[in-house]
Symmetry: C2
């Protein structure tokens, strides 16, 4: 089954035949990847991880009927009129066990979250209660309906109710919500082990080295920071532009990592060894070259491993803007797909504030987006070329400009916040 070749036919991109579209490339990442193994971990370690199985609640929430306010549990049939007196027989604090049972005409002092005693008919918030001095009596100062300010057992969540679906990512709110239901461990997908390979002989480490035609590396720091933002560790390798060095490294990495992410060396230059070396080692091409700017020569391949999910190689071009798009869009999706989350990217839609000229490839432009009256307005920034990154100090989104269209002011475009 040679799906890579089949792909060559299903898009004809004007003057650049053989390229697939951005949407086709993204879909191939979803379709051609297998989720990794799963593991059970403590909920306190699970921020941003993806559930491998649904979670059902073991308890009711609230766990017991309780007071919603600081006040008094009362026992009285029907509505209570202002002026009615009750005998005060005790106090229950939140977290306190109590065997108190109310009889008609009796009251118990309660605090928010405290379990209401047996035979409570309603709760009076303390603002409408007056203590009668030197007597164990209270007076209700405003009319009160039955069952006021009572949180009923199970009214939020019943035992057995589904709390989270497989594939769901555990946000801060999800962690809090599961904690409240007493969940202490979760079954999640393993985190992909990622090796990053920076190719190229042009990387300077110090100002002095700049004299010899070298440049500072943005790609390694960019990728490291992105994974750090995702709370995921990566291992960065630098490799010189020789076939031997690249080959030795890939040979070693393919067995130890789930993903090899490379920058540079994927075009058709004389020193572009990533693709030929990968194919030679036994990687199968899933796609090569996407009709996009920046990042056209992107390469995606898989290596089958015995008793293991495949190793995936995503080869990004070396231009920093291509690496930026690659990581925010493609690597992001790949990491999710390997963790069982197979839904497509969630693009926003926004309204462009100016014209954009047509280009034969789809473009990703760095923009500044702002909300106004419920609408999202997009403004492109200058310095969009693929060797430039300085506008990322201002940009807050990455916006897709469809190929072969003159974009008018007011057109709706899709993008992601960055």
């Amino acid at each position: 089954m040679n799906q890579a070749i089949a792909l060559d036919n299903h898009s004809a991109c004007g003057s650049e035949p053989g390229l697939i579209t951005v949407d086709e490339a993204l879909q191939l990442i979803l379709d051609r990847t297998q989720a990794l193994t799963t593991e059970c971990i403590g909920l306190d370690q699970a921020l941003n991880r993806y559930l491998a199985t649904p979670i059902s609640s073991q308890i009711n929430l609230p766990l017991f009927s309780q007071s919603a306010v600081d006040g008094y549990a009362l026992c009285h049939e029907g509505e209570i009129e202002a002026g009615v007196h009750f005998e005060l027989i005790g106090e229950i604090r939140a977290g306190q066990r109590s065997e108190l049972v109310l009889q008609q005409g009796q009251a118990v002092r309660l605090f928010t979250g405290a379990k209401i005693p047996v035979h409570t008919t309603t709760v009076a918030r303390q603002e409408i209660v007056q203590a009668i001095e030197h007597q164990n009596m209270i007076k209700i100062t405003a009319a009160l309906q039955p069952h006021a300010d009572i949180r009923d057992v199970g009214e939020e969540v019943a035992v057995g109710q589904c709390l989270g679906q497989a594939g769901q990512q555990l946000s801060v709110g999800a962690i809090a919500s599961l904690s409240m239901a007493g969940v202490q461990t979760v079954h999640v997908y393993a985190l992909p082990k990622v090796a990053v390979v920076i190719t190229g002989d042009e990387i300077a480490d110090t100002m002095d080295e700049l004299q010899s035609g070298k440049i500072f590396d943005a790609n390694g720091p960019l990728i490291r920071a992105w994974f750090q933002q995702q709370h995921q560790q990566v291992y960065i390798f630098h490799v010189t532009d020789t076939e031997y060095a690249v080959s030795q490294l890939f040979h070693d990495l393919k067995d130890r990592y789930d993903v090899i992410l490379t920058t540079g060396g994927v075009s058709v230059g004389d020193y572009d060894f990533v693709r030929p070396v990968a194919l030679n080692i036994g990687f199968k091409e899933i796609f090569w070259k996407v009709k996009q700017k920046p990042g056209k020569p992107m390469f995606f391949a898989e290596y089958a491993r015995k008793q293991h999910s495949p190793c995936y190689l995503l080869g990004l071009p070396g231009n920093p803007a291509a690496v930026y798009v690659g990581i925010q869009v493609y690597v992001n999706l790949l990491m999710k797909a390997l963790q069982g989350q197979k839904s497509p990217c969630a693009w926003f839609s926004g309204i462009i504030q100016h014209e954009l000229k047509s280009d034969q490839r789809e473009r990703f432009l760095r923009m500044y987006a702002q909300f106004e009256q419920g609408q999202l307005y997009l403004n492109s920034l200058s310095k969009q070329q693929s060797h430039m990154l300085s506008n990322l100090m201002q940009a807050n989104c990455l916006v897709r400009i469809p190929a072969n269209q003159n974009i008018q002011k007011g057109a709706v475009l899709s993008g992601i916040f960055i």
Copy 2:
């Protein structure tokens, strides 16, 4: 100067006098906090930190004039017509130093990012160049303008140009951009040292303890996860509901932490010791009680320290929904303010898809927002009460509902993504 008392006069909140509005509370956090000290750290440690001083570029970007493509540097006056031949005199790779100097009619093989030789007039991409076999000659196969595919020195950034402003947060893109300019250390604000104090005797650690009226704690895990998301460490303390225990703990923490964040014990219940204890120790109240739901009894105070910035105490109510709003809105702003970023919260605006009844306090509702045709549509979720969190498994935003207004379908509301 008793600003806390002055505040009591400047808002009269209908039936709940003395409360300040959400906007007033947020403004007080900005106005009444001092930024912490600053420090120099490695750029690789600086993700999400805030710049304390502007950064200027030490270098030009590009550092030297270079090829934008794999191709050939040519020396030729004016436009080059198809068919013109050039003598090939060498090759320059990216990162390679070269002393080559072109004469009229000569060419040098170049790769993307390679420094162009002296006297280069234009660059021909390899797609329009044909090698002449057995000769050191190439032929240009399409007309070519002067200065094609050359990236000029300093065209993106000039030496001395400002790269980032004081107060700017270092995103992934900012880290990449600064790396490319050779920045290796940055001057940033120190991270606030935060102690979290969970009050309340009702916290269960195991299923067995639930039998005695206790509940599982959502607040500790929520706060820990939020700070983890921000890549910030916090120290969590549990304290029993006695005046002595709270007092001892505050005494100890105020000297060692920049922020004490508490949950519970800030209302007017008989066991609400946070505010009286803090005031007794010497904290000065900045505000208490905000006209909001959830989270009305929120308390904010400062403790002056010798030769140190003050210690701030933010007391959140114990209801988990109030803690959630407190952390996403107020703690978020406080952390920024202490790191020199004094701009207000960046609220989105979105369009509500249904009616909402009026309430005398401003509400924060957990909602699900989605984009359509450049507009952001908001849908409220069920189970919004202050003791409920389970809808955070679905919510993606927190939306502000103004006080004392019936909200119509189609109204514009502000909020934050969560």
